[in-house]
Amino acid sequence: MKLTAILLALLVATQAQQTDPKPLEVSVAAAANGSAEAQRSMEDQLLARLSKATSREEKAFVCRLLRRVGSARSVPALAEMLGSEEDSHIARFALASIPGAEAAKAMRDALSQVPEPLQLGLMASLAARGDEESFPLILERLPSKEAIQALGVLGTKQAARALGTLRGSNDGIGQIDVIDDALLKCAESLLAKGNRADARRLYVGELSTEKVLAGIQGLAAINDLHAKAQVEKALAHQDEVVQLTALRAMIRMLGDDAVSTMLEYLPIAPLNQQVVIVDWLGKAGDGAARVALAEMARSGRASLRLEAIRALGSVGDASTVPVLLKLLSDEDEDLRGTAKNSLVRLQGEDIREAILEKFKETPSKSLIGLLAARRERAALPELLAVCGGEDSSLRGDALKAAGNLATASALPAFVTMLADPKMKGEVKDIESAILSTFREVPDPAERAAPLLAAYKGAEVPTMVTIVNLLGRTGAPNALPVVRAALKSEQSALANAAVHTLARWTTAEPIDDLYKIAESSTNDGHRVVALRSYVNMAKGLDDAAARYEKATVLAKTPDDKRLILSGLARTNSLEALKLCQKYLTEPEVGTEAALACIQIARRAWRQSPDEIKALVTSFSQHQDDTVRENAKVTLERMTQ
């Protein structure tokens, strides 16, 4: 024995004595991967433990492990347990997994000795192993349900014969369903072994009604002339599930001939079958179905039309596009929606051209929606024309679609529309389109260029819109324009400039905002600027100094609350100190305490003792929320 194997065996032997199950399981896994000696050693240890086990739990635990490493050597000990009402199943749990003749023999031997309820599991395990030697023992236990099932699992010709005999006898009455199920399994086993003749006999025998379905499946697998005839009969079965199952089986059996045959059957099939055939023709994707499907899409029962329209999404071509386009204006919402979905799915240059041609000829909301759903960028020029066109009912939809499809080249066109007097009602849509287009223009300066060009000489409302948009570009060269707008005598423009600076994408205008907060006579502007100033300061290197500077501006309680809310979002010790300054102010003391606690949650590791003491001091605060927050925060700190 090699040294490593000896060491592993020793390790395994030691750990098998342990009571904690998880390490022992690890040892079992190691043994299973180890040498034959290690496995044998582990098995010995487990068997020793099993022999001493007195409780049901202990036996169950060891058997679970023997299932992993047990061999023929474990069979006698496990076999002894098979007669115990409590332990039989767990012994079988291990035994059934052990390969080799010994385990099977032990279960066969036990079959005649254990109480009837325990025989069920033994028969199931023997049949699952495919143990043909157990056949006569199982036969003796007919007509029990479990014996019938076991014969089905065995699946031999011999088993099928016994089941057939039982079916025709008085003993089989009342068990027909179970017997038929077992017979079907036998048929499958026989078919798998190439015995088609015996399998067929079983499939077309006296099956109970529900089992007709199974017969269809089996016959479809056999798929000869006789099988086809049987399945065809089922097309007219009283049960719709049987009918449709037969139809699908027939389609499979027909193979390459299925499309042509189903196209001929389609007009004479009952409606429920027509729906299934049309659905299948769509999935089959054979262009031969196109004409029939287009015809069905035009008129007839709504359920069938829907399926046909859906199928055209798979098999349609340019010739069927007009049918589908016409359906886009159908009064039935379902038909309209399905036609649109089908048109979205159809691909190819000729399809695109047919749709675009129609759009040029008669633009409509439904066509705009279709172009957007198909993401037809080729339609952008036509869409832009509709955006700036005379039909105001289409402009909004066209702008949305064009915005979503737009490339960088469309940006100047959208900006020009901002100044178009007839489009005053669509300014919001134009703004959205421009913002969508920004996605396609990564360079901020390029985003800003057409806006800056249009700004000069624009009317005030347009300037307001442009200033708003400039704030979304993030372009440094846009900032001077916005700063200039701050000084405008037009209040709308100045107002827009303040808000634009407040949501600037970088911290560049932070000093402009400070000035507004410091000197503006407009309270609204002052509040917006101060809030943005505090937000922008977060993350800057000189954040602490800026917070301190901000506190100078806080005159009113509302200002102070604003500053505190900004400070609370930081994890800075300097911010914490600033908050503490407000703790004694009666109007904002509670907010200051809450801000301190919020900062403490993030920053306490920077100065644990000091911050813990501060938060502890809030445990006696007069405000319930402060006390509760302090308690939760202290708990987190001590975890």
Binding site: A60, A214, E232, L263, E264
Partner: protein
């Protein structure tokens, strides 16, 4: 455009090549017409089961006739939802699922039980003529999945698994990949939880009203513990595959679908002990694609292809998908549960078919086996056999506690 001339019945017989055509214009006894309601029994009414139930109750054409749970409070809560929706008190309550399977007025069964019950109830339901919607993870072992797939095929039943995320949440990836955004997929990272293990919860006395034997069902016996019946069964191997199968059925399901591998399996599952990016396992497929458990850029899914990457980040997922990418998904226009109802009516195959559900769950089970054994595996996805690993093969199935039985051959049988 003209329709082809309708064929005579005789012509149709010739087309089929048979001689016994029966008149199709009949009135079926069981009709799923547009206005007919699909009736449903709902089994397993814990949190997840009740969520699924509420999903089906949104549909006017679904009527829930009965609910079942071994915990009386769960069943009572479910009945309250059903009765409120239908405006009556007709929904029956039972702790015995077979009462639902025996009812001829119930067309479909929804299963929301713990995982170790899925296969037993699903196969029995399908044998009883019901179509089945089963919450994920649909199976506890590879053998269960194959047995369920066999029953679906045998009886022509409609079966839908219950992962709403494979398409609903991850379709952006599918569209991007099919649209060629990253070229050929090479690597996928799936971040889901780990495997389950031994249950070492202490024994607790069974409270009144809880049928513990029934909750355990086919699983090996162990003493009662309250967290197990309250949804805390997932970490334990007797009842679940852990996070590996729970979210794995979503995440790996998404990865397999995106790569077109949803109906096959890996050929090699390698345990990665010191992977630089934290991968625990790497699954390699016959076409060379690798799917990793763990690693990547964070998020549940991330992809790397020959021409780019798709990490699971919100800013990336705002990228528009390529136009005109159509991927067959749910039918019927009402999400994944509506897909099931549509297929019940048309006898078509739902998006989360049994084969996809089984293959996805098997992918997760094989990962678990590799973790449990702490060693790499070779897998034959066609024959569904582990190559060269008798100890590993033992995990492909588990004997059930009597009187429960899957009535299926073991995957290691001769």
């Amino acid at each position: 455009m003209e329709l082809p001339t309708p064929p005579s019945r005789r012509r149709f017989l010739q087309l089929l090549g048979t001689s016994a055509f029966a008149a199709p214009m009949i009135v079926p006894s069981r009709v799923f017409g547009a206005n007919e309601r699909i009736t449903m029994g709902a089994i397993g009414m814990g949190n997840r089961g009740r969520n699924d139930l509420k999903g089906f109750l949104r549909f006017d054409d679904v009527q829930v006739l009965s609910v079942c749970d071994v915990v009386p409070q769960h069943a009572a809560e479910a009945k309250r939802h059903v009765d409120a929706r239908h405006g009556n008190q007709d929904c029956t309550v039972t702790a015995e699922y077979r009462e639902i399977l025996e009812r001829e007025d119930i067309d479909t069964v929804m299963i929301g039980t713990p995982d170790h019950w899925h296969a037993i109830i699903a196969t029995e339901a399908m044998r009883s003529g019901k179509d089945v919607f089963c919450e994920k993870p649909e199976t506890l072992t590879v053998q269960e999945g194959r047995a369920m797939a066999d029953v679906v095929k045998r009886y022509g039943r409609v079966f839908s698994g219950g992962s709403q995320r494979v398409w609903g949440d991850y379709n952006w990836f599918h569209r991007m990949i099919k649209g060629g955004a990253i070229g050929d997929v090479q690597d996928v990272w799936v971040n889901v939880g780990g495997s389950s293990g031994l249950c070492d919860l202490p024994p607790v006395a069974v409270p009144d009203g809880v049928d513990w034997e029934r909750w355990l069902g086919p699983a090996p016996w162990r003493p009662y513990h309250p967290s197990l019946v309250r949804g805390g069964f997932r970490p334990f191997r007797d009842y679940s595959g852990g996070g590996m199968t729970d979210w794995g059925c979503h995440g790996f399901g998404g990865a397999l679908f995106a790569c077109g591998l949803q109906e096959t399996g890996a050929v090699d599952i390698t345990v990665r002990r010191d992977a630089p990016n934290g991968e625990g396992l790497t699954y390699t497929f016959a076409n060379g694609i690798r799917i990793h458990h763990g690693g990547g850029w964070g998020g549940i899914l991330s992809f790397k292809g020959s021409e780019g990457e798709l990490p699971f980040r919100d800013d990336t997922r705002r990228r528009p998908t390529p136009p005109n990418v159509h991927i067959p998904n749910y039918q019927g226009g009402r999400g994944f549960q509506g897909d099931f109802i549509h297929c019940v009516r048309t006898r078509d195959t739902p998006f989360r078919s049994i084969e996809r559900a089984h293959r996805t769950a098997s992918h997760c089970h094989l990962g678990n086996i590799a973790y449990w054994l702490d060693r790499s595996l070779k897998w034959d996805p066609d024959k569904e056999r582990i190559l060269g690993g008798e100890e590993a093969s033992r995990w492909l199935q588990r004997p059930m506690r009597e009187p429960w039985s899957l009535n299926a051959k073991s995957l290691t049988s001769s």
